[in-house]
């Protein structure tokens, strides 16, 4: 097991190094430099050169790379070109908002998906299934921005039940994480983005749970339970559903990792101040340090969650092991 963990951590570090290097090169391979995005072309070459020197972008690319890696190992993501604030501070301000949005949406989506999936498997062939499966597939396939705009149009523009943007009302302050979690205003602003993400995410657990349940319901131990005369409720919940949950739980871990980076669209539609929005603004403004930092954080969460799912599988299923031992 120790070898498996060491192997997976080795993979994790390798992937992070590749992501870090690619992210570094990606922006520098684009024509021009970041000053072109926020400096009027009317400014002289002298002005541009002074700013590039200030950013450290007048150094050879290999030197920039070594400085970047060295700083990264010390936990320093650098200074934002556009906001002139430490990148770690910008990311740290945004990350909790993304995590809250993701966790709330995932929990709602998986809670709903698991219950609905189990129910649909149990009532296979009924009217509920005929309606629910296409709806689940449609919301899963619909673009997030479209779903978001639809909910905005209905619940914000027409009915006026929810605010259109941001995480707090105009003039309000986000405050600390604790203050955010205790703020009714924050949760009120979270409703529409979380609902959009929930609708988008619920398709996977629902369909996965239904498919696994259908398999489990045909297993011999379920037949035995029926023969023992157990109630239908007891068979579905206590026996079938518990056994069908394993792949869904794994999907939850992977979904958490993917969603942290995948909220870019929803955070932009609702102006939700999360890491996805920070990333979009940084890419648009060629703010290399912030974009690099955001990519690394997203990649880190994704890779860590994948590794954890991998290890959990190995723990739960002894057949999964390191290739060398096969």
């Amino acid at each position: 097991m120790a070898r498996l963990i060491a192997d997976r951590i080795g993979h994790l570090l390798l992937v992070l190094w590749v992501v870090t290097t690619l992210t570094f090169l990606l922006f520098r391979l684009m024509p021009g430099d970041p000053t072109l995005n926020f400096l009027s072309p009317s400014f002289t070459g002298e002005t541009r050169a002074a700013l590039l020197h200030g950013f450290g972008l007048d150094k050879p690319i290999w030197e920039q790379y070594l400085i970047y890696l060295g700083q990264l190992l010390h936990g320093n993501f650098g200074q934002s070109f556009l906001q002139n604030a430490p990148v770690s501070q910008i990311l740290w301000d945004a990350l909790p908002n993304t995590v809250i949005l993701t966790l709330v949406s995932l929990c709602l989506a998986y809670a709903f998906g698991i219950v609905a999936g189990a129910f649909l498997a149990f009532r296979r062939g009924g009217l509920a299934e005929a309606v629910a499966i296409p709806v689940a597939l449609a919301t899963r396939a619909a673009p997030e921005f479209w779903l978001g705009m639809l909910l905005l149009a209905l619940f914000a523009f027409q009915l006026g039940w929810f605010p259109t943007d941001g995480a707090v009302s105009p003039g309000g302050s986000l405050g600390s994480l604790g203050q955010r979690l205790l703020s009714g205003d924050f949760w009120w602003h979270l409703c529409l983005p979380a609902l959009t993400l929930t609708l988008f995410l619920q398709g996977l657990p629902l369909l996965l749970m239904r498919a696994t349940m259908l398999e489990v319901l045909n297993d011999e131990f379920i037949v035995m339970a029926r023969m023992k005369g157990l109630s239908r409720w007891s068979i579905v919940i206590r026996h079938a559903a518990r056994n069908a949950l394993l792949p869904v739980v794994t999907a939850f871990a992977l979904g958490l990792g993917a969603s942290v980076g995948g909220n870019v669209v929803i955070e932009t539609v609702f102006a939700w101040p999360g890491i996805g929005r920070v990333l979009v603004q940084a890419v648009q403004g060629a703010d290399y340090p912030v974009a690099q930092g955001a990519f690394i954080v997203i990649a880190f969460v994704l890779v860590v969650m994948n590794t954890m799912a991998d290890l959990a599988y190995a723990l739960l299923d002894p057949r999964v092991s390191v290739g060398a031992r096969r």
Binding site: N37, G54, P170
Partner: protein, 554 residues
């Protein structure tokens, strides 16, 4: 010369059709660069309309969208490489004086790496531009500027498209419409409105939207278009461009120009910094000289380049000596440079001396300013919150000024309707949608104002055949400006044929737009035929004897 193009259109009759033996080489495929549709839908559509029109001349025209960073890099820094491009000059208060654009855009000294990115070179124009810059008499200067506009009309270094209109909206049950101040070439989204707007009820906060986030706010940083809305009301300046577009004393009580090279300033008495210290003449001298300290404030350095010296001549007075006469100095420099507290910024500049950073990168924890508003909080990804400075000599009537960063334009419209914002300041969507919203919501008022800026097609005169005046005249004659204004800009623009907007009625050459044929194929063909161009098998060729030596854009 005034009616040159029109007269050519009416009188020239020669035909373009010719045989291959009579003509020069076929003109290579030309590339019209523009921005992607998602980034600039109006410019992109205009480029498509214009390319279609040019193809009727027998030209092969490829429209090539480039993303923002590459677009700027190619057009501005690789000047030998491209044929023609869409471009724009945006309206800013300091452009209320036409000098900046008149001088920078077309004077040949700026062709190598300055503003004259098309490489236009006409000594006659250079002379006019210099003369208007040195002429302090308004009437005489206007005559020179009219001559300059006529000359550009003849030479057509740009194919002018339109002057756009700024469309904004506000909740008229929250804000007194009579207290909105319209500024020439800017509209009601301006400093004067923020200071003068009067609430009608309990809502005392102006809540406006911004599509893009600003950069950090400090008196030596130009914080993007949206950031500058905040910076202008946080930091005072010695002068401000007034609603009429002319400079007015602001932080200065009086400004005099005894001769073309001297400016005497009397500082307004009783101004205070937000940390409680008085604004002194030393602060004013520092603010005018700090951008020239090394390379530590590169964004503001161009605005002090013409200053030879600044000296305090009394407890409230200072004298500025200029290196060269500059009619626009009061607008382009004194209305642009922020007053910054010396006791805060001198130590910062001292500290920066041996560091690579510049003053732009400094973010004060508690910014010290003297303007009508003070910074409460600047969460650049979310919102900027300013509060009124009640001790200011011109105190605002509102309590707070809150700018929400809302990248989703449609959500901004919804927010205005639902009351989450009460001033739609940054709207890049379809103007008709806004008009429809105003019709369906009686609370909403829409304000449309002609902008100082303009949109145009730039011809790269370093690359044949664009160095030929006749070729440029023909291309410009095919640009249907009315069609562009209506179709591409949805009616929120007016046709243009000058860099001086009709919003600046004092300087604009009235009727100049009618002195270039618009969307007129016959006129364009006549101009080309007269200049010797030939149409061979449906392809436009150079005049006889001219070889195509320029490689197509890649």
């Amino acid at each position: 010369m005034k009616r040159f193009l029109l007269s050519v259109a009416l009188t020239a009759l020669p035909s373009l059709a010719a045989s291959a033996q009579e003509a020069g080489d076929a003109i290579r495929p030309l590339t019209l660069i523009t921005q992607p549709e998602a980034a600039a839908p109006q410019e992109h559509q205009a480029a498509q309309i214009i390319a279609d029109a040019w193809r009727k001349l027998g030209l092969t025209v490829n429209v090539r969208p480039l993303p923002g960073q590459e677009f700027n890099q190619v057009i501005w820094y690789e000047r030998q490489r491209w044929d023609t491009t869409t471009w724009q000059m945006v309206g800013r208060p300091e452009r209320s004086d036409p000098d900046e654009l008149t001088y920078n855009l077309f004077v040949s000294a700026n062709a190598a790496n300055g503003y004259d990115f098309v490489g236009y070179n006409n000594p006659e124009y250079d002379k006019l531009a210099q003369e208007q810059r040195e002429e302090l008499d308004l009437a005489k200067r206007k005559v020179l500027l009219i001559q300059a506009q006529e000359l550009i009309n003849h030479d057509q270094p740009y194919g002018f498209e339109v002057h756009p209109e700024n469309v904004v909206a506000y909740n008229k049950t929250v804000w007194d419409p009579a207290s909105m101040v319209s500024q020439a070439g800017i509209g009601i989204r301006n400093t004067w409105t923020w200071i003068n707007v009067r609430p009608l009820g309990a809502q005392q906060d102006v809540i406006l939207n911004s599509v893009a986030p600003p950069t950090n706010l400090n008196p030596f940083n130009i914080s993007g278009q949206q950031g500058s809305w905040a910076a202008e009301i946080v930091w005072d300046r010695l002068m401000r461009v007034g609603p009429e577009g002319l400079p007015e004393p602001w932080g200065a009580e009086k400004v005099e120009r005894p001769d073309t090279l001297t400016v005497n300033v009397t500082l307004r008495h009783g101004m205070m910094w937000s940390d409680g210290q008085p604004v002194t003449i030393d602060d004013a001298v520092f603010s005018l000289t700090a951008p020239d300290i090394g390379d530590k404030a590169p964004m503001y350095k161009p605005f002090v380049r013409n200053i030879a010296s600044v000296e305090a001549t009394g407890p409230d007075t200072l004298t500025i000596k200029l290196k060269h006469p500059d009619a626009a100095f009061l607008v382009s420099s004194l209305s642009k440079l922020n007053l910054a507290p010396k006791h805060v910024w001198q130590p910062i500049f001292d500290d920066l001396k041996n560091k690579p950073q510049t003053a732009e990168s400094i973010q004060e924890e508690h910014p010290v300013s003297s303007g009508p508003f003070r910074i409460v909080r600047a969460s650049l990804n979310q919102e900027i919150v300013l509060e009124a400075n009640p001790t200011h000599w011109s105190p605002p009537k509102i309590h707070r000024w809150i700018m929400r960063i809302m990248p989703n334009v449609e959500a901004s419209l919804g927010a205005l309707k639902s009351g989450e914002i009460n001033f739609l300041a940054d709207y890049t969507g379809d103007p008709q949608l806004l008009q429809d919203l105003a019709k369906s919501s009686p609370n909403i008022a829409v304000s449309q104002a002609l902008d100082l800026g303009f949109k145009f097609i730039a011809y790269n005169e370093r690359r044949p055949p664009f160095q030929d005046v006749a070729f440029r005249q023909a291309l410009s004659a095919l640009i249907d400006r009315t069609l562009l204004a209506e179709d591409a800009w949805g009616g929120a623009a007016v046709p243009a044929n000058s860099w001086i907007s009709p919003a600046l009625a004092v300087w604009h050459d009235q009727g100049i737009v009618s002195r270039v044929p618009g969307g007129n194929l016959e006129a364009a063909q006549a101009i080309l035929a007269k200049a010797g161009y030939a149409l061979v098998d449906g392809k436009l060729h150079y005049p006889a004897g001219v070889k195509e030596t320029t490689a197509p854009y890649h």
